[in-house]
């Protein structure tokens, strides 16, 4: 009945020629990805950007079973509920590949639960198909539905990408899911430093000096022992940094305080992909990393880790994060933490990989290099805390994060050595 009522209201406002089209559109909204699709949980997160308002919710394992009647979590599928409102006057395209490049189609999920007796299979197909999220959202329209994603074992962190002519709105969501680990720590960014601790830099020269004056390396908890080199600097808003890293396929991960090591060990033995092996805590500014990210490749031996700390400085009003990146090429079993990652000694290679990775995810506007790590040639490598050797040209890469997508041809190289007195 909703369908008819909606149609009637349109009927009275629009010209006769538009009626037939409006009718079919409105009926199917109510029927397929309809307004009636209930919110799966009270944990709804809403953001508005440009002309789009997006709400998301991620049902837990139990809630998912109640909604779909099937154990999706057991089968590595996690539904994400999306409600997108187009407040503007041009169509908006919702791109599920931005949320999960390997998303499952509704009928693919349904097919997993098909019974031998096919009598109920049509109903099952319909249940999933009709709950899917639509792609195109007309002006003034609201669409509601699910995207079926790969299961994340902790906080669900994802981008919602919406394209409108000449503009892309990307919103980053962090949605904790009951029953799963907490790995996204809501860092109190404002509380890390008092106002008088933060130094504001406006000219590039003083920025270069400040970045070169950062310590060469992270340390252990006591502030002793030199850990991995601080070879990356990220400039931009923190939310934009998360957004860019997520789009490039990085996941947030947990810092080792004891959890999930068993899983890492299993994964190392079986070489299966476990996306969430934790990273150990390294220290800068007297605290463990503020952000720990990783990018898994084919198995646990192939993954990249990076750690970032908010620095007590701002450049032209933007946040500055310092950190390190390493490429894990193997896992060793050690007494201390059960498993430790063996890193690629060529840390500059990994640093340059990060630049390209973010560039191809359209997440960078500019980059440049400063000194400060201290060179260590291949014949005289330095060691990190776990005794892994590394060599480097001593450069630190400075990455300016884009607030909106920038294609690779537009990225600028900033000659920071010119700014170096």
């Amino acid at each position: 009945m909703t369908c008819v009522l909606e149609n009637m209201s349109i009927h009275s406002f629009h010209t006769w020629t538009g009626v037939a089209v409006s009718l079919s559109i409105l009926c199917s909204i109510a029927g397929a990805t309809g307004y009636e699709l209930p919110v799966p949980s009270a944990r709804v997160h809403t953001q508005t950007q440009g002309n789009v308002r997006v709400s998301t919710a991620v049902p837990s394992d139990r809630e998912t079973r109640e909604i779909f009647g099937q154990p999706l979590y057991r089968d590595n599928v996690q539904p994400v509920w999306i409600k997108a409102q187009n407040l503007g006057d041009t169509p908006v395209w919702f791109l599920p590949v931005g949320l999960d490049p390997d998303y499952f189609t509704p009928l693919e999920v349904a097919f997993r639960y098909h019974a031998r007796n096919p009598s109920g299979n049509d109903a099952l197909n319909r249940r999933f198909f009709e709950s899917r999220m639509g792609i195109e959202i007309q002006p003034g329209e609201t669409r509601v539905g699910y995207v079926f994603t790969e299961l994340d074992e902790g906080t669900k962190a994802f981008n919602v990408e919406l394209a409108t002519p000449g503009r892309t709105e990307t919103m980053t969501f962090f949605v904790p899911v009951p029953g799963l680990r907490v790995d996204h720590h809501n860092v109190d960014w404002q509380g890390l430093y008092s106002a008088d601790e933060i130094v504001e830099y406006d000219n590039p020269q003083s920025l270069v000096q400040a970045l070169q004056a950062l310590p060469c390396c992270a340390t252990d908890k006591q502030g002793n022992g030199l850990a991995d080199p601080l070879n990356i600097v990220v400039i931009g808003e923190i939310t934009h940094a998360y957004r860019a890293f997520l789009r490039a396929g990085w996941d947030e991960t947990e810092t080792i305080y004891g959890a999930s090591l068993f899983k890492t060990a299993i994964s190392a033995v079986w070489k299966s992909e476990y996306r969430y092996s934790p990273v150990s805590a390294l220290y800068l500014y007297g605290r463990a990393q503020d952000i720990a990210l990783q990018k898994a490749r084919e198995n646990i031996h192939e993954r990249n880790h990076l750690r970032l700390w908010l620095a007590p400085m701002r450049f032209q009003g933007q946040s500055v994060l310092a950190g390190q990146i390493s490429r894990d090429i193997g896992v060793r079993f050690t007494a201390k933490t059960i498993t430790t990652h063996k890193i690629d000694p060529d840390v500059d290679e990994t640093r340059e990989f990060l630049l390209e990775d973010l560039a191809y995810a359209q997440g960078l506007t500019k980059f440049g290099y400063v000194e400060g790590v201290g060179a260590a040639p291949i014949d005289a490598p330095r060691g990190n805390l776990t005794g892994d050797p590394y060599f480097t040209d001593g450069q630190r890469i400075v990455l300016w994060i884009a607030s909106e997508p920038v294609d690779t041809a537009e990225i600028e190289l900033v000659d920071m050595r010119a700014a170096n007195p």
Partner: protein, 367 residues
Amino acid sequence: MWARAVTKVQGDVQVTAAVPTREETKAIFSLPLYDRGVQPVWLQIRNYSPYPLRLALVSLDRDYFSPLEVAYVHRRGYSTEGRAAMEKFLHAQGIDRFTAPGATSSGFIFTHLDPGTKGFNVDIYGNREDYLFTFFISVPGFLPDHAEVDFASLYDDGEFIRLKSENELRRRLGEIPCCSVNTDGKQGDPINLAVVADPQVVGRALLQSRWEETAAGTEQTAAARTHRYRGRPPDVTLHKSRKDGSERKELRLWMAPILFGDSPVWLGQISHDIRGDAGNAAAKPYRIDPDLDDARMYLLQSFWFAQSLLKFGFVNTATATPMYAPAVNFLGSEYFTDGYLLVLMLSGRPVGLDEVQHLQWDTLPRL
């Protein structure tokens, strides 16, 4: 390997690429890299420009292996000195990202093994100038299906329909056959894609969005080749799978006798094979996802995110089959669709996510 090397020039930059076979790789590195899923690609970059050049390694393979990672994988069985020597050797073989003005750099990049023609992009960045190359290098032992097609002789010159405006293109695409057929003339899948671009641009875009070629004359292409357009099997068949192997997408393209400007128009279809249990091949056989439109939208996005999409639009071909009354193709697979043809105009130059243009042709219905 050198006999199969390919050289390309763009402006002031010359790139030569070669791919050693399994045996040649073993001879060069004394290591069985292919057995570990690693395939080296040799590049030589000559820089005749007055500016330094930077090679983006991820343009060849988003997940390439670093030289020392390759060394680590092969560490077993070496003495300490032997291993150090092997690491040094591999590190020295890796290509330098930077090429100074007037200089030449060369070396290997270690990519994931492709079971086929090695198709890859080589993106090089200079001073506000970029040089985007695409290579297809045959590796003995593999022949992709499109290598068996003689594109130049598919049509006589007079056969081509030449279109100038987007409106003409839209009208013409509304008149193409609805579906592929088999040799008995029975209907296969809807032709629900039209791609407008030069062959090398299509190839580049497909590589960028990680589609893989399919070997000619193998079981892999057998089902695809039962689909005919103008009496012939697909000119190009590509596929793409999720890492766990729980699904497979298949893209079939035919070059049509239509030119838009100077670019050929390719007609195509995409299907999505799904399986009951993730990663368990024995659990259930593949079947076709009956929702053809989802796979079509996936392709749209895969080009969109790979910076390859310039414009897109839809043409209503009035061949909708609803979910409750699905059509059946000649292989017995059910499908349903809104009956809209997706038109994709690709670009060889990177296009930002927000620069993609939506042609205001037909508006998609809500199924």
